[in-house]
Structures are given as C-alpha cells and as structure tokens.
Symmetry: C2
C-alpha cells in the first residue's frame, strides 16, 4: 500500500436527479468536483456511462488520471447489496440489479465500494462535518422520503447485507395515512418533503397560501424545499404551521430513536433542512427535549448538517479509503 498521504480518492454521490464526482487527496481535501444531471429516464446504460464521464471530468479538473485513483466510493439510493456492490432496485435511476462496484472496478482499475446515500452522508458528517468524532451519531435526512443512518463507534450500523435505520418507517400514527412501503402512519407520511408539499398544495387550493400560489400553484411537483422557504419568508403563515407541525412529528420519532440508541448528536440534513434550518431544528429540538428520556438528552446535540451537498461524496470518499485500508 502507498503512503496514505499520497493517495487519491473518488467520492461519488449518485442521486435521483443529479450526480456529483469529487476527487479528494490523502488528507481528504477536495481537489475537484463535477456535477451532472442523472437523467434516469434515459436508461441504466446511459446513467452508467454518465457516471464514467463525470468521474473522468473530475479527474481532469484535478489534473489526475484514472491510474492515480486508489479507490472509489459511491453513495447511492437503495436497497443495495453492500457485500456484492449491487444496486438492487433504484426506480429513479431505472436500475434493477446493477453491479455498480464491478463496473467501476473494471473501468477504473481500483477498488470500489458502494453505500447507501444517507449512510455515506452521515459518515461524511461524522468524519468531516457537524458530527466529527461523535461516539454515536444519528443522521436524519428528510427528503422525498426520510432517510436515517447511524455511525456508532466509527462504523455505520448496517443490516445483514444492506442498510438499516429506516427512521422514515417508524410508525407515528397507528391509524395514519398510506405510506409508500404499504403500511399506514409511517413518519414519512407526515414529515417528508413530499408529505409537506401535499399538505401545502391543499393549503394553496383552500386559498390559505397566496405567496405559494404565486410561486408554484397547486402542483405538488413544483413545491420544492426552496419554494416552501420562499413562501414562508413572503408571509404564508399556513405554510410555516405545516412545516413546524411536520418538524414536531420528526422530533417525536427521533425521540424514540434517541431512547433506543442514546446518540451524542443528531444531525439533520437534506434539502428541506438546508432550506429551513431554523424552523426545523428549533421544533425538532423542542420535541426531542420534551419526549426523550432525560438521561439521553442532557448532553445531546441537535445540529444541522455542515457539509450540505458535499456530505455524501465526501463520506463516500472516506469509505473508499477505509475499504482499501481495512
């Protein structure tokens, strides 16, 4: 093995709408990063090809070649088979049983590792961001769904062959709404960006959110995190109530997880939290403080993610390094 100081790692964030390749040096300093659209609708082969060219662009920008890479790490939407490095099913990418690890290793001739995107993002925050050095860090990322991850004593908690920490499917309302997973009353049905957007669209329809009407109308697909933030800033009180209510549900579910795992820090991230950090952290913190057990909250920190968009790629790069070094 080379001296780790002279290594180069490629961290990749493979999202449903966009992808990002980052080249990091042996001290995990980012040398270059390149973004591209995912365009999953064009098919699996196209997406794989675009991953390749995005990595090559990032290498070029860093003044490196493929042979300079010591390892690749990719954060992807799940479910994954981590041991075999296969993406089992990713509807947004049009993927089913894609052997991503093998494809990258063949192409770039270096070890590759795949990870769940939220696992990689939380690991990134643990290594380089808001949760640096935590004994136990819980990451919660509300988006279309709500992803969770836990880094416990330096390692990502995982299931038998894939990820775990499905905090979005903790049941918060026994008689609640239908969830994408087939159950009713999951946290995702009341606190995901999608749930919030649906509620906000109804508020627009009822005439309670004039600013949001002007920005997005009643089309749920147009009501994104940034749009919600703009509407609240422009005075849509109903939208603020909807977001605060969702954040309280989020806090309540996190309180249950705090009672189970006793983390030292909860990192909240993702687009919704980035757009509305104050409101969400404030409400979640209040409810966690009120509902979790005192023994577990007295030294608990609740923080917004610090790395923003870069968390997953940076975490994936760090996983690439520990994959090679282990």
């Amino acid at each position: 093995m080379k001296n780790s100081e002279t290594c180069h790692w490629l961290g990749f964030d493979l999202g449903g709408t966009k992808m990002m390749a980052a080249v990091l040096d042996g001290n995990f300093k980012t040398l270059a990063s390149v973004k591209a659209k995912t365009k999953g609708a064009e098919g699996a082969a196209e997406v794989l090809e675009r991953i390749r060219t995005t990595i090559e662009s990032a290498l070029r920008e860093a003044g490196l070649e493929a042979r300079d890479l010591d390892g690749i790490g990719v954060g992807c939407p799940g479910p994954l088979d981590l041991d075999r490095g296969v993406v089992l099913h990713a509807p947004n990418l049009g993927w089913r049983n894609v052997p991503l690890k093998d494809a990258l290793e063949k192409k770039f001739k270096c070890p590759a590792v795949i990870a769940n995107d939220v696992d990689a993002g939380t690991y990134g925050e643990y290594r380089f961001g808001a949760a640096r050095g935590a004994r136990c860090a819980l990451g919660v990322f509300p988006g279309t769904g709500i992803g969770g991850a836990c880094v416990y004593e330096g390692k990502i908690l995982r299931g038998a062959s894939g990820s775990c920490m499905e905090i979005g499917h903790i049941r918060v309302q026994p008689e609640g709404r239908l969830c994408g997973c087939g159950q009713t009353g999951c946290l995702e049905t009341v606190a995901s960006r999608l749930a919030i957007s649906a509620e906000a669209a109804a508020a627009v329809f009822r005439g309670e959110a004039p600013a949001l009407r002007a920005l997005a109308g009643t089309d749920l697909s147009e009501i994104k995190s940034g749009t919600l933030a703009k509407a609240i800033k422009a005075g849509d009180g109903a939208i603020e109530i909807i977001v605060r209510n969702a954040a309280r549900h989020l806090g309540s579910a996190i309180a249950s997880v705090v009672n189970l795992l006793a983390p030292d820090i909860v990192v909240l991230g993702g687009g919704l939290v980035e757009a509305l950090p104050d409101i969400i952290i404030e409400e979640a913190q209040r409810i966690i403080g009120a509902q979790a057990m005192k023994a577990f909250t007295k030294d608990l920190k609740i923080a917004a993610a610090a790395l923003g968009d870069n968390a997953t790629a940076m975490g994936a790069a760090a996983l690439a390094a520990s994959n090679v070094e282990s």
Copy 2:
C-alpha cells in the same frame, strides 16, 4: 493471564426481588448456583452483605474459594455508570450511587464489571442461548417495565456511560396513558406485565374473569405472570384477549426497532414470556411480519429466550470474562 480453560467466573443476577450467584468454569459450564431474596427494604448495606454471602455460598457449593475467581460480572437494575461501575439509582434495592464494582473488587480481589440486567440477559442468550452467534440480536424483556438490549457484532450497544435500547419508552399511542417516565403513551403503558395486570384487575372487577377472581381478586399486586397463565388455562377468555392485545402492541413497537436495526433475531424473555410463550410469540410474530419492512423480516427469527432465569447470570459471567480478556 491464566489459560482460560482453567478460569472461573462468577455471574450475578441482582434483581429487585431475588438475586442469584452462579459459578462457571472456563468453558462457561455452570458449577454451582445459589439464590437468595434481595430484601431491598432492609437497606443498601444489608443488600451488599447478602450479595457477598450469596457469592460465598455459590463458591462453597462449587468447591472453590474466593482466590479461585478470575472475574465477577453483575447484571443489575439501572441506571448505571458502566465505566465507573456504579449503580446510580435502583429504587427496588434502596440504592443510590452505590460503587458496586469497587465493593466487589475489594472483597473478592478480582476484576468486576457491572451491566444492565437486560443487557446481560441478552448477551447470555447471544453467547449461550436462543441468539447464539447472531450478527445482530435484539432482546426484549417485558416485566414490570419493558427492557430492551441489542448485541451487535458481538458487542452490547450502549449509551455514553450506560445502557440504551429503552424500547419500553417508544411511543406507541401519542395520546396514551401516563408512563412512569413522565411521558404518555409509551409501550410500557400498554404492554408491560404491570399494564396487563391493571387491565386484568379491571376485567375481574367487571366480572369478566372468574378464574382470575378466584386466583387473585382485584389486587393488581397479586396478578403475576403465572397467575395470568393459570387464569387463561382455566378459561378466562377476557384475560387471553388482554394478553394478546398487549403482545400486538409489543409486536408493533418491535417492528419499528426492526426497521431501525435489522436484527437477525428478536429474543423475547422475562417472566411474562416464560409463562405465556405461545400466545406472546405468536401475536408478536404476526404483527412484526405485517408491519416491519419485508427486506428486514424475510430472514428474521422471533424466539423465546432459551436460558430462562439463568440468562442474566450467565451473560454477566461471560461479560466478566471478556472484561478480563480485553
């Protein structure tokens, strides 16, 4: 260090009503075990003294002396400071800030370690019982409260200085009953032995449980796990409904934990499960299968604890050994 084959370990189960000392050889074969009443009401000094004499009786029965012991492990009611080996607060023992580890090390001149009783019991099941060799074992022990523990890749998951996995305080009914922890709607308020006994006492009062009336009347303190089992066997259908309903709540909370930790096995133990294993395992299994995510239930086992009363002492002995060997 001696050859581990020739070692002797003392495992101790310190309960609110009874205590047990077990002497195990280097292969964790039990050589002797002695039980005694705890009698917490007599005061902390008395309980400490009784622990000493119970350990000495067990050593005598095994034909050994204190100097033959290589380590002591104690499973105790919490909360505990595991690092310092101090029992912070145990109302049933009349204890507050008792330095149990130091007291035992001074007396028996060998390393001692303390653990939460459910942690020790689950670890016992992982090492010697129903969860042997599991990658991730979740232990759930309904009693007066509901204890939980998780052994993940060979180690007990823990909080900053104490236990975690407070599954009894997962919120299952947002508008539910008052719990001992100060919150409302915790799992303990609907599925603990205490909650079941309270509901059963009301059924007796209403005249719906004649067998239980004959066995225990309406005094909740008299309605123990074995009494509930006898009443069901004698035909009290209302009591069976109450227990099945509680087991469904238990299953629902376990389903959330399964979605978080993706264990390979859930071990259900404690007096209530020992008295009514079929009913409780059947209902819990059904609900977990229906409510947890398919990816996590397809290979999941749900099993009753195999070591009964001995799980905590045996687990504590194994912890004593890994404490010395680490």
